[in-house]
Amino acid sequence: MEKLFRNRMATAVMLTPALAVYTFVMVIPIMWSVTYTFQSGNAISGFEFVGFSNWIEFFQDDTAIDALLFTLRYAVVMTVLQVAAGYGLALFYIFFLQNKSSLVRTTIFFPVILPTVAVALMFSRMFEAAPTEGPVNTILQWLGGDLTDFLGTPTTAFWIVIAMDVWRSMGFYAVLLYAGLVEIPQDVMESARIDGASGWKLVRRIVVPLSLPVLLSALIFSINGTLKVFDSIVALTNGGPGTATTPLTLYMFRTSFAYGEYGYGSTVAFVLTILCLIVTVFIFRSLRRDVTE
């Protein structure tokens, strides 16, 4: 009987297509990219071995360091906000809307599946200052504020990117965390209520500790995704004004395709990979701790 599942021929036939595509289009290019970090040039002009000079350049390049810092700042701020917004909504679904939450959940989930470029164009029109005034500027002026060029000022541009991405992702995290909260056993909640816990106390002492595993995976899921932010920034600010909102992903794209420096682009990509690797190792360590608890 076990012999049937030790069928080598079947294994080979079923695994080969996927493994071949994966190896040739992902594994080999990844390793190939690592060798690019020691070269300069591009696909059209050819390559030249330059040793560690790309790496030295990276750490002396202010734009690159700024991009690295922007990536980290964006990832941390985004992760905190989107998970907090999602958790708040999930608690709201469970305790306030209870079993009537389906329609609200669906509506708030809408933005998750919309094409990023369309959403970004929408947001840039909402916050526009010239040649036409977007709704946000109009309302701001009613309230006595000044006409603000939101996307033309570095600090506000950063927060608009954040606002847009929270808008896009909160529905996803709400549903994800809702799925975790629903699994808290009813009798635990009920006995806590009988013991006199209610409102904040119930949330802080019972709900948060019991939903910690799913909260933790949401956090890490989020960090890993936000470190790779590209679409929303390209479409909303294109890294600007100047390079104020340029993450590593976009900087890599620019150096590689606008300036044709494949070696340096690969170095930037590799730094990002190392960042993601550190986060992923952290994922596995914390997940393992959950299992043993």
Partner: protein, 298 residues
């Protein structure tokens, strides 16, 4: 589901002063409803604003306030978006790039998941981890070598680079998720099928696939939205204007019209936003349950 204990716990106490309690309760819930109303407004309003804008003319954009309703309800902007903006071409390109890749991802992915999870051989866990690693590595790591190769074999002016890259990008998560779902099938099912004389191929096609049908549907949806909304890969490998996908096309919409011709731009955004939305509403239940169960397990 949480409603049951709340009402039962509150009932005995509430019975004594039945007259005052409901009103007080209802008033206490007002801030909550206002809060959720505001959230819903921020989600729905931008989309409605775009929809309204798609019917407006250029002078209306420049002189009327943002809340003004369009003065006419015709589809001029939509016609302009499709005819001058080439929206139809972008949609066609997205379809011919995404669907073949999606089909390949599902076929290759489910076979590989079966080989890695149900079949028994040495080293399968190592291969599974190898696939898992692909989820973490940023796409930027594979772009440059792939571009070099596509350029050298001369396929940069076709849709093939997109299909090939999408297939590879979709595989890690698909293999991982389907393997997770196949792990949930009790071993006894396979044993029973074996005793009935089924071959390994029949166990795959007639036993395993029907059992994970919902999971395959879920994975297909997740991957569809993921590939359909891709920008990075399309931006890298699309070198000519008539190969642009929806996302790349929309990004260049502004440029094409010099950032001032709002009507067709709003029409273009409307088509993509509400088209995707219609698809989503159609498949809604599956997306929600699918995304979460996949994400929690993954």
């Amino acid at each position: 589901m949480t409603s049951a204990p709340t009402t039962t716990a509150a009932e005995p106490r509430a019975r004594g002063r039945r007259s005052r309690r409901p009103l007080k309760n209802r008033l206490r819930r007002v801030p909550g409803w206002i809060g959720i109303g505001l959230v819903l407004l921020t989600v729905v309003y931008p989309m409605l604003w775009i929809l309204m804008g798609s019917f407006k003319t250029q002078p209306e954009f420049l002189s009327e306030p943002f809340w003004a309703l369009p003065q006419q309800w015709n589809f001029d902007n939509y016609v302009s978006a499709f005819v001058d903006g080439g929206l139809g071409t972008y949609i066609r390109n997205s379809i011919i790039a995404v669907f073949p890749a999606l089909a390949l991802v599902l076929i290759f992915g489910s076979a590989a998941a079966f080989a890695l999870q149900v079949l028994v051989w040495k080293g399968r866990s190592v291969v599974l981890i190898l696939f898992l690693a692909g989820i973490m590595v940023p796409t930027q790591m594979i772009l440059l070598p792939l571009f070099t190769v596509y350029y050298q074999i001369g396929i940069t002016s076709t849709i093939w680079p997109l299909i090939i890259t999408y297939t590879a990008i979709g595989l890690p998560l698909t293999v991982f998720m389907l393997a997770t779902f196949m792990r949930g099938i009790p071993r006894e099912v396979f044993e029973a099928a074996t005793l009935d004389g089924a071959s390994i191929w029949r166990i795959f096609a007639n036993v395993t696939l029907p059992l994970v049908r919902n999971a395959i549907f879920t994975v297909a949806l997740v991957q569809f939205f993921f590939l359909w909304n891709d920008l990075l890969i399309a931006l890298t490998f699309v070198t000519s204007a008539d190969l642009r996908t929806i996302q790349v096309g929309l990004l260049n919409f502004t440029g094409q019209y010099g950032a001032v011709n709002y009507g067709p731009l709003f029409a273009g955004i409307s088509v993509t936003v509400f088209g995707t939305l219609a698809l989503y509403i159609f498949l809604n239940k599956k997306v929600m349950t699918g995304l979460t169960s996949g994400a929690v397990k993954g």
